[in-house]
């Protein structure tokens, strides 16, 4: 995921491109953005117009996108940049609105993660008027242009969010003509924690092509019973014939993948993983780890005190470099996931997409660099 999304300087209308001769090396957008950040297409932004609580710690934000918003497909996610203490922090959220929402507003639903830095701010402390940066919509877990006749959605927890975008898109289709038949198996701990509770029930009642099967793992606070692939056959007997979209916790997705593989219908299965930054325990600060260089396709072991620049060079990766002392920023490389430690200050960086100085950063656990 590119965390520094920006558009080529000369994008936009021919008039703006001509005016860029006056503003070079900046663009007209850089000036328009001073009037209103939403006018700047070079660094797309949106303004929160409403924050609607969904559950105790889930909030839906309605966002008016600015000029730079290039649209999305139902089911895709979007990097959202939030300013906290002067610094933009980027997180990705699934869009829960159709690609062409009637009110023109984008919507995301944020679950505040306990101890998190960004999601509690978004869920509980983002008043209307807040400007958020928007990255380009991405991901291939999305509704095909011509949906298959029968679909199965398997979701758990906040895994409902990309599927909600698809369901709302399907619901917006004209009622005439053939409509795909959709079954949603959705699991949450309790009914209280279920996002979009009323809307899903209403859709179930009103739409002939939609069947909603809720599942609760701890309905009365009793022992947990998770939704397993074994349940699926009982709840949706024709699951083998359905094009399936699954989104939820890693354990559930692995079980689903194995089950679909056993039935030799893997080609019908689409899976979305929320790649949240793995947050290993604190004591891993003192251990190194394996480094994966994603584009090069090389792995290497890294010690706690060896700069990642050296690790990469030893492994034969063409690393960008400069002063080798943390001065010149010539070695900036995006961190894909994992944790690194600044060898000068001990500061930990664990934000996916953050550009790190490899000459003064060492591994603090397993990590991947986007190079």
């Amino acid at each position: 995921m590119p965390v520094l999304p920006w558009r080529p300087a000369w994008s936009g209308t021919p008039l703006l491109a001509a005016a860029a001769w006056l503003t070079s090396p900046l663009t007209v957008d850089d000036y328009l953005g001073l009037v209103d950040p939403l006018l700047c297409a070079r660094h797309p932004a949106g303004r929160v117009v409403a924050a609607r609580p969904e559950t105790d710690d889930g909030t839906t934000l309605l966002i008016k996108p600015g000029r730079g918003w290039a649209g999305h497909k139902a089911g895709q996610y979007v990097p959202i940049g939030v300013r906290i203490d002067g610094a933009l922090h980027w997180r990705t959220y699934s869009l829960t609105c159709p690609p062409e929402p009637a009110d023109g507003l984008l919507s995301i639903t944020v679950q505040a993660a306990a101890g998190g830095r960004v999601s509690p701010r978004l869920a509980h402390d983002t008043p209307p008027g807040t400007v958020l940066r928007l990255g380009p919509a991405q991901g291939d877990f999305c509704l095909p242009d011509r949906p298959p006749p029968r679909m199965l959605m398997l979701t758990a927890g906040s895994g409902i969010t990309p599927v909600m975008g698809m369901l709302r898109t399907l619901a917006d289709r004209p009622p005439t003509g053939p409509h795909p038949d959709v079954v949603l198996l959705h699991s949450t701990r309790t009914i209280r924690e279920r996002l979009f509770r009323d809307e899903l029930q209403a859709m179930h009642r009103q739409l002939s092509w939609f069947r909603f099967v809720p599942h609760h793992t701890r309905p009365g606070g009793g022992p947990s019973r998770h939704l397993t692939p074994g349940h699926v056959a009982g709840l949706c007997p024709d699951w083998r014939e359905r094009e399936t979209w699954a989104c939820g916790p890693e354990a559930m997705l692995q079980a689903v993948e194995a089950h679909w593989a056993d039935a030799r219908v893997t080609e019908r299965l689409h899976v979305e993983r929320f790649r949240l930054a793995p947050f290993p325990p604190r004591d891993s600060d003192t251990s190194g780890g394996r480094v994966r260089f994603l584009r090069t396709g090389v792995d290497a072991d890294a010690g706690t005190t060896v700069a990642l620049l050296e690790v990469g060079e030893q492994a034969g990766v063409a690393m960008p470099y400069g002063c080798r002392r943390g001065l010149c920023f010539g070695c900036l490389t995006p961190l894909a996931h994992g944790r690194v430690r600044d060898l000068r200050t001990g500061e930990i960086q664990d934000e996916p997409g953050r550009l790190i100085q490899t000459c003064v950063s060492a591994a603090a656990g397993p990590l991947a660099l986007d190079i």
Partner: protein, 357 residues
């Protein structure tokens, strides 16, 4: 710790040098831990002021047949260009504001209103000059490959003309930097392939065309009857910016007591010794807050060289503390008013035009 001046003891004792390094590391960590919204507001404020000044200056120059509009427009545009190059361009390209994670103010995406492309500058300035500050034979900024600024540099009869060369360089400084960033001397000595030179020259040409077209063709044409005064206003603004940046940059490393180093001295250099060299090889300029902003805070050259990636608005707070540390370790802390530092720099240009006595 010791009290004698650094010059009297060319091989400093490692213990106190490392202690010095640790103290400076702590200063650095303190600033990093407290970077936040006020700093972000500062740089966004400078961005907004700079763009507003530029727009106002350009509009005034569009009506510059009217002399007060010419004076006001040229003044505003000159100030805008100075801010753009020094407090914004130079510092953003150093990565001072990368911590904000904002693609709009980031060393990897920023391009400046200056002939030399940002990438070429980052290579020659951020990497080479800041790593090898004042090391004879390694720091090309030590005289910019044309001036002889230290007795260790071999003398050549051509250096007799260096006072004239330096005077002529000031008004066309951005051209000087652009050609300097092509590193023709390095290519000639085999340190960089001619292929790189060709690529760099192509990039420079593309950038220079847009820069020149903007100031000397498009804006004058749009000014209609004010075309000629508009062009002259733009030329004046670029020249004022060139002379100003040349002045400030010369004062950063060349005033009287600033030292130069040999490659032997910096071999196996520790972090503490590197810090020490930055202190001994840089000089500050005294002045008020507005003056500091207009120099891009390069008036705090010592602090900038110690901490090139800390936000420039913090240098003023760091300066008295760095100075106190220098005093405690008996280190020189070269500073003085602009005129004195500038005169001292010229003294050095004149002195080294002649062979060593």
């Amino acid at each position: 710790m010791r009290a004698s001046g650094a010059e009297s003891d060319p091989s400093p004792q490692p213990e106190w040098v490392e202690a010095l390094g640790e103290e400076l590391d702590r200063l650095r960590a303190e600033v990093i831990a407290t970077r936040g919204e006020p700093d972000a507001r500062y740089i966004r404020g400078i961005v907004t002021s700079q763009r507003a000044l530029e727009i106002a200056g350009r509009i005034a120059l569009a009506f510059s047949l009217f002399p007060p509009a010419w004076v006001g427009g040229t003044l505003m545009l000159s100030t805008a260009k100075i801010l753009e190059n020094m407090e914004l361009g130079h510092n953003i390209l150093h990565g001072q504001w990368d911590w904000m994670g904002d693609p709009a103010i980031h060393s990897t995406t920023w391009e400046w209103d200056f002939l030399t492309p940002a990438d070429a500058w980052k290579r020659t300035h951020n990497h080479q000059h800041h790593t090898w500050t004042n090391v004879v034979g390694r720091d090309r900024d030590l005289g910019y490959a044309i001036l002889r600024m230290s007795p260790e540099q071999p003398w050549h009869p051509a250096h007799l003309a260096q006072p004239l060369a330096n005077a002529l360089l000031a008004p066309v400084f951005e051209w000087g930097i652009a050609l300097y960033d092509l590193e023709p001397d390095v290519v000639l000595s085999g340190g960089r392939s001619p292929r790189h030179l060709v690529d760099d020259a192509a990039r420079l040409t593309a950038k220079a065309l847009r820069q020149l077209a903007k100031d000397y063709l498009v804006f004058p044409l749009l000014a209609g009857p004010s075309a000629v005064p508009c062009l002259l206003g733009n030329l004046t603004a670029n020249t004022v910016r060139n002379i100003w940046s040349h002045t400030i940059i010369m004062c950063g490393h060349f005033p009287g007591a600033v030292q130069t180093f040999t490659e032997d001295q910096v071999e196996e250099e520790t972090r503490g010794q590197w810090y020490l060299r930055q202190i001994q090889g840089s000089a500050n300029i005294d002045g008020g807050p507005l003056f500091h902003i207009l120099t891009g805070n390069l008036s705090h050259q010592i602090e900038h060289h110690l901490f090139p990636d800390l936000p420039s608005n913090r240098y003023a707070q760091l300066a008295p503390r760095v100075r106190a540390i220098c005093q405690r370790y008996g280190l020189p802390y070269v500073t003085g008013p602009l005129l004195r530092q500038y005169a001292s720099t010229w003294g050095r240009v004149l002195r080294h035009a002649l062979p060593n006595r």
